[in-house]
């Protein structure tokens, strides 16, 4: 079924098709439309969802955690400072092993106050124990949300899932989209059937007990093992999803990587821009390609290393700072993943697109030009740089 929807509409529609038991709802730009559209579905009786309006994001996540523990499938949507206000509860959801699903519409964190896109919100939550899946466009935002529950709810995973899309660029831009039939979606997502839940009266349950030092470490190891297991589960669910949609997903997407000598590694909507630039450069004979990170948690280290193994130079493009003074978070992960390769490409990090700063095909071409120079000269130059800011010096 073809349609034209914004990213927010697409995710709200996915929620409508899934018909979750509970939504913890609190608005924040640019994710506000998701609970807004969904409120319509609730008011029109199109879903049976208990729609809980709360006083903050800390509370919306708390509602979701409590509902999920009770045995209900719960969903949530937020952005930026809203996600930051949830941080405490994000860890509670993950460590209590409750597979809540959250649509994160990526936006910069304050300050200075800014409502536009970058990845600093979800990157700040990258160590919270949530699975993170990023969309390039509206179609992927829709598809990723449909795949989230079968991934997170798997008994050997039991982790919450954050599906991310770029604020405004993806959330508000209207694109053509292929929607699945609701019957097909419901069959694919299935019922939430946890083995233990608070409302199961035959089996009393306590969730989230105090964990003394004699047990905490063991529970964290279990959580880490679950995150490792999520990798295979994500691929299994993707294979099932391909059967109903014809659309193929993996942990990463390799674009023109077969013979690529120069490559980009990046996340989200910039992949579309990069693909357009790569198409143009390929026409001129340049062997350039892209590794798009679809799943950031669990991080597909082996897959990224394999994809970049034969390149000469690569640029990791981070859409969030991180202030490590040593490169952005995606750079840290990628460089670490390449360490075990016998021969590694030259690797640079470019932090770009902060707070809604645009990135164009010309910018991507500049990055490839820099990579071409590095590959030819063997001189990496400054490894950790920024792109797109006004400067008295040249930057790319």
């Amino acid at each position: 079924m073809s349609n034209r929807l914004s990213g927010n509409e697409a995710v709200a529609y996915a929620m409508r098709q899934i018909n979750p038991d509970v939504m913890g709802a609190f608005p924040i730009t640019p994710s506000t439309e998701i609970p807004e559209y969904f409120a319509n579905y609730v008011a029109n009786g199109e879903v049976d969802t208990e729609y809980v309006t709360v006083e903050s994001e800390h509370s919306s996540m708390s509602v979701c955690i409590a509902a999920q523990a009770a045995g209900a499938r719960s969903v949530c949507a937020t952005s930026s400072c809203g996600l930051a206000l949830m941080y405490e509860m994000l860890y509670v959801a993950a460590s209590s092993r409750l597979p809540v699903t959250l649509a994160c519409v990526n936006r910069a964190l304050s300050g200075p106050i800014n409502i536009n896109n970058d990845h600093s919100d979800s990157m700040g939550a990258r160590d919270s124990g949530w699975i993170q899946i990023y969309a390039e466009n509206n179609q992927e935002a829709y598809d990723n949300f449909l795949m989230a529950m079968p991934i997170g709810e798997a008994p050997n995973v039991r982790l919450p899932v954050m599906t991310c899309m770029d604020g405004f660029i993806t959330s508000h831009a209207v694109e053509n989209i292929e929607l699945l039939d609701t019957d097909v979606v419901r069959k694919f997502v299935g019922e939430y059937q946890p083995e233990h839940y608070l409302l199961k009266k035959e089996n009393p349950l306590a969730v989230g007990p105090y964990d003394i030092s004699s047990y905490y470490m063991e529970h964290k190891v279990m959580e880490a093992e679950a995150m490792k297991a999520a990798k295979a589960r994500i691929l299994e669910v993707a294979a099932e999803f391909e059967k109903i949609s014809g659309r193929r997903y993996s942990l990463i997407e390799e674009y023109m990587m077969e013979d690529a000598e120069l490559a980009l590694v990046l996340i989200g909507s910039t992949a579309g821009t990069a693909k357009a630039a790569i198409d143009e450069l390929r026409e001129k004979g340049a062997k350039v390609g892209l590794v798009k990170i679809r799943v950031f948690r669990p991080f597909p280290g082996e897959e990224v290393a394999r994809a970049l193994a034969k390149t000469k130079a690569a640029a990791v493009m981070d859409k969030s700072e991180g202030f490590s003074a040593n490169g952005g978070p995606l750079f840290a992960e990628t460089r670490s993943a390449l360490y075990d390769l016998r021969e590694r490409p030259y690797l640079i990090n470019i932090v770009y697109g902060l707070g809604g700063r645009d990135v164009k095909t010309e910018d991507i071409e500049k990055v490839f030009a820099r990579l071409a120079h590095i590959a030819a000269s063997g001189e990496t130059g400054p490894v950790y740089t920024h792109m797109g800011q006004r400067s008295k010096e040249d930057n790319a």
């Binding site: 209590s96 306590a206 047990y215 279990m222 679950a226």
Partner: protein, 102 residues
């Protein structure tokens, strides 16, 4: 199903429950928290009128009751806070230094 009694501080991570979930009620009974005590209440049975005032004031449930009469302290759960001594209208409870039960 993993029961609380089968878990202890030697249990490997593979045999624990996800998120530390507990699949039965009342497991606090099995958890010895009396070791935190630095002062210890002493029950003087002969002075007790069984007015039951100490029982609701106990922040834990460390004063067992049977057939309308209070029994000696449950030292496995008493934290030694001394509130029972404060509220007792009779000289039926005194506090002594140290965590050892008397």
């Amino acid at each position: 199903m993993i029961r609380a009694k089968d878990i202890n501080e030697h249990t490997p991570w593979q045999d624990l429950t996800p998120g530390g979930e507990i699949y039965e009620p009342g497991t606090a009974r099995a958890f010895n928290t009396g070791t935190w005590r630095t002062d210890t209440p002493v029950f003087h049975q002969e002075a007790c009128k069984h007015c039951m005032l100490c029982i609701p004031f106990c922040p834990d449930s460390a004063i067992p009751v049977k057939d309308g009469r209070r029994l000696d302290f449950d030292y496995m759960h008493c934290k030694g806070c001394g509130i029972c001594m404060e509220v007792c209208p009779f000289p039926a409870i005194t506090m002594v230094p140290g965590g050892e039960p008397r």
